[in-house]
């Protein structure tokens, strides 16, 4: 009974309800429309589907492994060197790939590793024959690592930064070398974050569509998402789309269950930090290793972005910037991304707080369903394709008036919810760690509600909230999902404009717009970073 009256839990329940409403409403709309003809849903279950499922899972698992593994090392390297020239810029750069529409990233990657890429001469010389390009599974993996390595590095880093400074002081007092420090201090923290981050990357890869088709080399490389897209777009078979989406959700649930076994729950440090800063002494050998690691990751991520930049500079940027449509789209994109990110961070924070409150109230014993839902449930929204949500709601509301007038609301809500898993990953480690430290003190002093948030939580949440905000914004900026299916004059975003230009021979314009999109994202990320930094101690 105490639970229901806890405002922190209520906030979480509200956030969950909003997510459930969004997805439930979409499914209702689709099923209502598709109920009269369920044959498509059954027909979808054929032997070919089995192959698709196998490939979908296989590529997603490999992509996750290749993204998360190196990201662990990169994040650790970055955390070992909290201050060096360009560190901040690297982190900002790492938020950018998410904002690039898949085809822009694919073209950027091909500009390096494609048959006509910068490296093709070199690679042909090494291979002894014409470089065949990276089409096939390798291309898919390179692209997925390009998107997810920087993302997971930043999220792991966020977790590592919650290690209390006292632990580092103690470690240095005990003369702990890097190896035991990793085993005793860093690894437990990374391991606690691992299932969540790996799950997030897995979900992003399982729903990959343009990358898989474009770089996959043929329909042998097909994901379930292609089937969902086809069902909704070409065949307009809502029942089949729902069946495939549910299959996708079920498969993801299974994988998430397996992933949680990898993880560990850390008990955070309940003491208030007294050490003013981290005591880190990194040996020369390790420093060199770390420099190499960071440099490799940077080259890998910056390469395709540099290619995108170079292609963009070839466009007539002056004319583009002068076009009213482009300016309008820039404003629309930035505005929608900002509002989505804000909403996303709010929802994520409510969920994080509620999950923590539930965990605290539980003390021992198995986790309740609500806690599970607040923990991983919201993350599953990522594997419900935006076009499914969009189509469902349009079907549901079409009798209620001009549904296309609500397109902007649709875009904002769907993007906000889609970005929640990112924001939660960024916010939760810091919130949980802070709560572990302050919970008793707050209870003792009777600080609660807004006062507690402002005085106690905010200072330690500021930076991770900004990280979450930046990722949510990048994701929304690059998103095309909801409007791709029906399009709408009222929501012409930069990616929409970009694809439209590409679709009418204006490849240079498209490259210029990709550059513009990257710049807008960088500007917003910088702003989020600046806000997150606050008064520096």
């Amino acid at each position: 009974m105490r639970l229901a009256s806890d405002p922190r839990v209520t906030a979480g329940i509200t956030a969950l309800a909003a997510v459930a409403l969004l997805i439930g409403g979409a499914f209702t709309g689709l099923l209502f429309e598709g109920a009269h003809d369920l044959s498509g849903a059954w027909a979808a279950l054929d032997p070919y589907l089995l192959r698709v499922v196998r490939f979908t899972l296989w590529q997603a698992a490999l992509s996750t492994l290749l993204s998360v593994g190196p990201a662990l090392l990169v994040a650790r390297a970055l955390s070992r060197h909290p201050r060096f020239f360009g560190r901040g810029f690297i982190l900002q750069l790492f938020a950018l790939p998410l904002a690039l529409p898949a085809i822009v990233a694919a073209l950027g990657i091909l500009a390096l590793y494609g048959r006509a890429g910068y490296f093709s001469g070199l690679l042909s010389a090494v291979g002894g024959q014409g470089w065949p390009g990276i089409y096939g599974l390798s291309g898919i993996l390179v692209a997925h690592v390009f998107f997810n390595l920087p993302l997971s590095s930043r999220l792991f880093l966020e977790a590592l930064q919650t290690i209390p400074a006292d632990q580092w002081r103690l470690a240095s007092q005990l003369g702990m070398g890097p190896r035991p420090a990793f085993r005793l201090i860093e690894w437990p923290m990374l391991r606690a974050a691992l299932p969540g981050i790996a799950g997030l990357v897995f979900m992003l890869c399982i729903t990959s569509f343009t990358i898989v088709l474009t770089l996959g080399g043929g329909p042998a490389a097909t994901t379930l998402e292609v089937g969902i897209y086809q069902a909704l777009r070409f065949d307009f078979d809502p029942a089949r789309a729902v069946a495939l989406t549910l299959l996708q959700v079920a498969l993801t649930c299974l994988v998430m269950l397996c992933l949680t076994r990898l993880g560990a729950n850390t008990t955070g440090d309940a003491n208030l930090p007294v050490a003013p800063r981290r005591y880190l002494s990194v040996g020369a050998g390790e420093t060199i290793l770390n420099i190499v690691l960071i440099a490799l990751a940077l080259l890998f991520v910056a390469g395709p972005m540099a290619a995108t930049l170079a292609a963009g500079l070839g466009a007539d940027l002056g004319r583009l910037a002068g076009e009213a449509t482009v300016r309008q789209a820039t404003l629309t994109s930035a505005g929608l991304a900002f509002v989505s990110a804000l909403l996303s961070v709010l929802l994520s924070l409510s969920l994080t707080i509620a999950r923590r409150a539930l965990a605290l109230n539980r003390r021992a014993g198995p986790r309740s369903l609500l806690e599970h839902a607040a923990d991983t449930g919201a993350g599953l929204v990522l594997v419900v394709p935006p076009i499914v949500i969009g189509a469902g709601w349009f079907l549901l509301l079409r009798h209620a008036g001009d549904v296309f007038a609500i397109a902007p609301i649709m875009v904002v809500t769907v993007n906000a919810v889609m970005a929640m898993p990112f924001a939660i990953r960024a916010i939760r480690p810091a919130y949980d760690a802070a709560s572990e430290r302050h919970e008793r003190l707050c209870a003792l002093l009777g600080i609660a509600g807004w006062a507690r948030f402002r005085l106690v939580d905010w200072p330690s949440l500021r930076r991770p909230l900004a990280t979450g905000f930046a990722f949510a914004m990048a994701l929304s900026l690059g998103d095309l999902g909801v409007i791709a299916l029906f399009g709408s004059d009222s929501v012409q975003t930069l990616p929409y404009l970009l694809l439209a230009r590409m679709g009418s021979y204006r490849t240079e314009d498209a490259a210029g717009l990709a550059l513009l999109l990257g710049l807008v994202c960088l500007a917003l990320v910088l702003a989020a970073d600046w806000l997150g930094r606050g008064e520096k101690a």
Binding site: I103, P219, R233, L395, D489, G503, T507
Partner: protein, 332 residues
């Protein structure tokens, strides 16, 4: 009392008169590249508004498939009077929705093979073609057979028939040439396919980036490069078996049938003022009378020796089976 009556009457007269001052409106749903600044939309709007003294409102979506979906979504309550931009592969499905109304007698449309349909009227057409990069490929294939059986080193980028209109076009092209032997042809062609993209944009992007010397596009694609970019570099290959035709059409919705402007627009659409705008804005061939001669670049384009086309009903009846057939060969 008298003044009250007077003012009441005058108010009623005014109220009745106001709608007469507001211009009549015609709402046309179409695809995005039609209404873009460089598309035919702005010209068409200006010309038709001058002729009818009405307002034309364009509502645009991504492409022809999205167009049909949008109309399906809105159903009977659609605001569209006219839906412009479906192709013949979509018309059977569009008719089946019952949301389109037969047109009256609309002037003759000029498309290869003639046209007779009681619901849809063509506004332009084009042929699918293999476009190649002359700097990379000195001897382009002269037939579909040569393409299918040629060296696997000369790659082509194609589109997925499950998600893209040109992708479906190539599938139908191969089917119309090879018939029951289509799976064998695809099995051979597969070695030359660099990748299968979800849409035309991705494929053409890879092609212009130099990833492959050939791409599936339109015979009119080189015209864009010649006129807008002043380069002869990209050319279409002419195939002995002929090229597959794509006809783009417009239709009046059931709600649009009540708007007298809809019929007028359909007649206008096949006339010179509309048709003159098509070639160099939509990069397709006009499907009606034009006043201006075609840009000379269009004379340099490949002229198909034979026009290949399945009827809308044949496509509707077989699409799923043919796509499955393609899928089973291509995903081996």
């Amino acid at each position: 009392m008298r003044t009250l009556l007077y003012s009441l009457v005058s108010a009623m007269v005014l109220a009745a008169a106001v709608p007469a001052f507001a211009k009549d409106k015609l709402t046309v749903y179409t695809y995005e590249s039609f209404t873009a600044d460089w598309g035919p939309g702005p010209v068409v709007k200006k010309e038709f508004e001058a002729e009818c003294g009405c307002d034309v409102e364009f509502v645009s979506v991504a492409d022809g498939v999205a167009l049909l979906n949008r109309v399906k979504l809105e159903g009977g309550s659609t605001k569209a009077d006219i839906v412009l931009g479906l192709d013949t592969n979509l018309t059977a499905e569009a008719k089946a929705t019952g949301l389109f109304s037969p047109h009256g007698a609309v002037a003759d449309a000029k498309v290869p093979g003639g046209w007779s349909d009681d619901t849809f009227v063509p506004f332009d057409y084009g042929y699918f073609a293999v476009v190649y990069d002359t700097e990379k490929l000195k001897t382009p294939p002269k037939s579909l057979k040569e393409l299918v059986e040629g060296s696997a080193d000369e790659k082509i980028v194609i589109q997925d028939p499950r998600t893209s209109t040109p992708g479906l076009g190539l599938l139908l092209w191969v089917k119309s040439v090879y018939g029951d032997k289509a799976p064998e042809a695809w099995a051979k062609l597969k070695a030359k396919v660099l990748t299968v993209t979800p849409g035309w944009s991705e494929a053409y992007g890879l092609f212009t980036k130099g990833e492959a010397p050939m791409v599936l596009s339109y015979t009119t694609s080189p015209a864009y490069h010649m006129v807008a970019e002043n380069t002869q570099r990209y050319q279409a290959a002419s195939f002995e078996e002929g090229e597959y035709l794509q006809i783009e059409v417009a239709g009046i919705t059931t709600s649009g049938a009540k708007n007298p402007l809809a019929e007028k627009f359909m007649a206008f659409m096949t006339g010179p003022k509309f048709q003159d705008a098509i070639p160099e804005t939509n990069w397709m061939f006009p499907a009606g009378k034009t006043d201006k001669p075609l840009n000379p670049a269009f004379d340099k384009l490949v002229k198909p020796t034979k026009t290949l086309l399945f009827s809308a009903d044949e496509v509707a009846a077989n699409r799923k089976a043919w796509v499955d057939e393609w899928l089973s060969v291509m995903s081996k």
